[in-house]
Amino acid sequence: MRIKDNQGSLLIEVMVSVALLVVFAVAIGSFAAANNRVIASAKMESLAAAFAKESMEQAFAIKEQSWPSIGSVLPGNYIIGQSGNSYVLQSDAGMPPGEKIEGAFTRIVSISKAFRDGSGNLAASGAEDPAVRRIVVTVTWQDHGLTKKVQLASYVTNWKGQ
């Protein structure tokens, strides 16, 4: 058997190879970790949006069944629960407020009065419209030390189907 060059590699060559390998490995690892974080964040955001939408639909269902159930409650934070075949608003006296969902999300359903300006448009202030209530659903969660949130806001009215 004949091998022409038996000198092998210099230590510096081995070190350069190892360094390059480490740099590539770290780069690929970081990319994979960042990719996983983005996927996990997107999943959490989708879930939060679904939970917020669920509450908004429930609030709409409550008012379709009985306007006073929403129209007559005091402005504040509420939790939407179920009693028999009906959704009911339960006062949220928690400190901090909110309903814990799946151990990761906090959902706050806030009901407030609605106002109209001189032109009859819905506005931040003005004359109260007793046939309208503003619903804001906020879902928050922790994502790598940051508090993230999805918020949906809508008006419900004492008009059928609106």
Partner: protein
């Protein structure tokens, strides 16, 4: 003739063996990587298909419930009959039926009375199996739980859809 190759001595057996060993390992690694990524892609496609099918079904139900004035859910929760306003002919309400059975979600629509089971058509595309359909009427809303399966992947979607109540 020009001298193209400086050395005509060829490669030794050891060099050839080392080359074959390294190239085999590279080929094996590449093949395993390809097989694995293909498996993941197929699995991901199945997951997307189940989710897509479920979303389409829920979208269809949302449209059916848009002008509904009442919903009747069967005792076992697998059938929802939706009564909607017919703006063209108010005396003849539109009746839509969603029914989960035989691994499929079935849908049909008629006027005044619910359509026969034989007239129902599948909502979920072929190849995707419906493992669970559960309807629950709460206040003026229909709560739907829909699980779909394709091969190794399952999708579970729950949704609350409000409707107008008479």
């Amino acid at each position: 003739m020009f001298k193209i190759f400086k050395s005509q001595s060829g490669v030794t057996l050891m060099e050839l063996l080392v080359y074959l060993g390294i190239s085999s390992m590279v080929m094996l690694g590449s093949t395993l990587f390809l097989v694995q990524t293909t498996k993941i892609r197929l699995s991901s496609d199945n997951q997307k298909l189940t989710q897509h099918s479920s979303r389409l079904a829920l979208e269809k139900m949302t449209l059916s419930l848009r002008n509904a004035y009442d919903v009747v859910v069967s005792a076992d929760g697998t059938r929802a009959t939706i009564y909607s306003y017919n703006f063209n002919d108010p005396g003849r309400p539109i009746v839509s039926v969603y029914c989960g059975r035989d691994g499929q979600l079935w849908y049909g629509q008629s006027f005044v009375i619910p359509p026969d089971d034989g007239a129902l058509s599948p909502v979920i595309e072929a190849g995707v199996k419906v493992s669970t359909v559960q309807f629950n009427k709460v206040s003026a809303s229909l709560h739907v739980r829909l699980n779909t399966v394709k091969n190794d992947r399952e999708s579970s979607i729950e949704s609350t859809i409000a409707f107008r109540q008479k």
